[in-house]
Amino acid sequence: MSASAVVGRREFLKTGAAAGGGLLVSWYLPVSGAGASAAETGVNQVALNAFVRIGTDDSVTVISSHSEMGQGVYTSLPMLLNEELEVEWSRIRVEAAPVDKVYNHPVFGMQMTGGSTTSPAEWERYRKMGALARTMLVAAAAQKWNVDAASCSVEKGVVLHRATGKRATYGSLANAAAQLTPPPEVKLKDAKSFTLIGKPTRRLDTPSKTNGSAQFGLDVSLPGMLTAVVARPPVFGGKVVKFDASEALKVPGVKAVEQVESGVAVIAERFWPAKLGRDKLVVEWDLGPNAEISTEQMLRDFAEQAKSLGAIAKKTGDAESALKTAAKTITAEYDVPYLAHAMMEPLNCVVDLRADSCEIWTGTQFETVDRANAAQVAGLPPEKVQIHTTLLGGGFGRRANPASDFVREAVHVAKVAKAPVKVVWTREDDLKGGWYRPMWHDRFAAGLDANGDPVAWTHTIVGQSITQGTLFEGFMIKNGVDGTSVEGAADILYSIPNLQVDLHSPKNGVPVQWWRSVGHSHTGFSVEAFLDEVAHAGGKDPYELRRKLLANQPRMLGVLELAAQKANWGSKLPPGVGRGIAGHFSFDSYVAQVVEASVAKDGDVRVHRVVCAVDCGTVINPDTVKAQMEGGIIFGLTAALKTEITLKNGRVEQSNFHDYPMLRIFESPKIEVYIVPSEANPTGVGEPGVPPVAPALTNAIFAATGKRIRRLPIRISDLAENAGAKS
């Protein structure tokens, strides 16, 4: 989800979480959260609040209210908490929170992970929970020793009273501490005293991810569990007319074939018979209203629609008049396709549905929404539904589905399976399953003055709204403009006196959703590529023009200059290699990237090096920031060079990694990441690395070849020697 599009989010962070003690934090214990593993381990785990348990063996369990999908929150949240709790890092374990309102996202008011918001939103709460726990442990020690709590100190999980030489471990104090009332207020350390925040810290989940013990949703197994695959309509919105299960039921291991809301479920003892059964299933579909749609037609329709003015998203000055009086004008159109998230772990969900309860195991980013949807399907009140959030084998937004598609379906299957059931999506199911990053068309015009500086800029955006018709519609869509469609375009940081951004939100039957960096994934590309065109049209160096237009944006200027300096902008490159630069502000973070790339005679693009500078405020774990930039760059390069989802006759044309290819190790460039030191509050890290890389690459290709790329993914045919310069 795009956080920056949520009206007032930044205001909230300023006045709420960041104001130092102003935020109301619940600390009560959810019934299901306390002492969960005591019975198994024989160790008493004492909950001091909803976010931390102290074991009598001095172990510490931090409860994560956010899902771990690779972005590192199972390490950064414990770091925040332990900055105040102060135990040895090796003592800390992390556990996924059950669904409970105490674990709601402090900004969004529901339990979820997304929008690159975990660290910004939890910056105060997790530290406060650590401080509350420590204060109670100290109070318990002081009471026991009959001394003033203020005369005690803590060190590595031990409370000390120096005057008497007394000492007690947290584990030995946990039971007594739990009897105390938490103090109404605690004082947090100031940044100068941090010992953990800002230090490169080993991830807590890495060992389990190197020996096969990490448990993802697909790894969950329950006694008596069946496995199902679902035959879904070949066209979005299609419905089952009838089906013939006779051959499917002959496959040994297939137990049942049943119609469900989303299609026909083949339920078997294990995955393979379920899959073989589905291969033999014959379904007659009513294809519904989307049987004719094609992305080729959409491309034409979008381009046509862009010729008229849409809903105004931003208007400064009078761009249309200024275009008429400009010394020079340029126009360009950009296109990007539908994209699938393609997490390595295909979607899956385990459901154990009983008469009066429903337990779900899945890797989700959207617990509150999923629980509500599951409850509705199960016919149970939400509090009778519990979700066990497993590790996510990638999320990128797909596992935050506003309709809870993969969870709802699994509950439907559980209703007919009459046993615990795991619904498994194959890679084909996952890629063809919709909820894509929308396809976008961007139409630009810029007016330059006699000096070659831009004085007018118009940007018309055409693409589906991802929030229309969801529960987010109310606060995302204002005056006909979905904030997630125009983020990164309506709020560009460049000072251009006359600016107009407008939006068309055509509807069609393709389900669309947030995809890592959301609206920025297209505006980052189109805006930064078109700005490069403006620079060249005005006879200016693209880096110098950006610097000039960012004179009043010190943090953006900071990352731009750092990236340029580290990449040695302006220095000579080997023949055939071009250098491109782009910067983008998203999720309240500033990122600039310089790409060095070359193009072979046959049009094959080689990316040699990416230099990245990021300013994301206070850094919690520098190694995670670097990892997220590295990953964001590869994710963005895959979109730039490789992938598109196309539809013909209503059918998705791609099915697996042969026709929806990912960037591979031999194609991945050398990446350098530089972090700008900052004492500002933490801002997003998971997504902001993605937007600048595609434009930095196409700008580098322009520098190398004189060919301007205006549609993604980059096609070899657009760059082969005989393709001709298109500038």
Binding site: E68, M69, G70, Q71, G72, R202, R203, D205, T206, P207, S208, K209, T210, N211, G212, S213, A214, Q215, F216, L218, D219, S221, T227, P252, R270, F271, W272, P273, A342, M343, M344, E345, P346, L391, L392, G393, G394, G395, F396, V424, T426, R427, A627, E630, G631, G632, I633, I634, F635, N656, F657, H658, M662, L663, R664, I665, F666, S668, K670, I671
Partner: protein, 156 residues
């Protein structure tokens, strides 16, 4: 009935012998460290060793394992002591972690055959393993590090 060895132990499995080895490991033997990613030998998440060679278990029928030795990520070491595991932890390679079993199993065969691989050797040997999180530069670093650790631990 198919008889073979998994991580050194003899196993007997009563499953249709055309079933991909991946699903036998995961569902019949409970070894879920080996992952399902594509089902078409395109992503490498299911990589295991069959008599010491890296194979994509999602397309290898169970019958192929008859009488042979299969090693999965769980069998690489029982205490995270394999140089690749040490290096993976030191470099903090994984993000979501889903592909990493396959990455490590591919890297293990590479190091066995080529104890001192260059970046190019690594790129060639690891080209069949996709990482959607984009940990490729760390995978390179960690393989070099594991090569160092292996050499250091070897009697001269």
């Amino acid at each position: 009935m198919t008889n073979f060895y998994v991580n050194g132990k003899a196993v007997e499995v009563n499953v249709d012998p055309s079933t991909p080895l991946l699903w036998v490991l995961r569902e019949s033997l409970g070894l879920t460290g080996t992952k399902f990613g594509c089902g078409m030998a395109l992503c490498g998440a299911c990589t295991v060793h069959l008599d010491g060679k890296a194979i994509r278990s999602c397309v290898a029928p169970l019958s192929r394992a008859e009488g042979k030795h299969v090693t999965t990520i769980e069998g690489l070491s029982n205490d995270l002591s394999h140089p690749l595991q040490k290096a993976w932890i030191e470099v903090d390679v994984p993000q979501c972690g889903y592909c990493q079993s396959g990455q490590i199993m591919s890297a293990a065969v590479l190091l066995k055959e080529n104890p001192k691989p260059t970046d190019r050797d690594i790129d060639e040997a690891m080209g069949g393993n996709i990482c959607r999180c984009g940990t490729y530069s760390r995978i390179r670093r960690a393989i070099h590090r594991a090569a160092e650790l292996s050499t250091a631990g070897r009697p001269r």
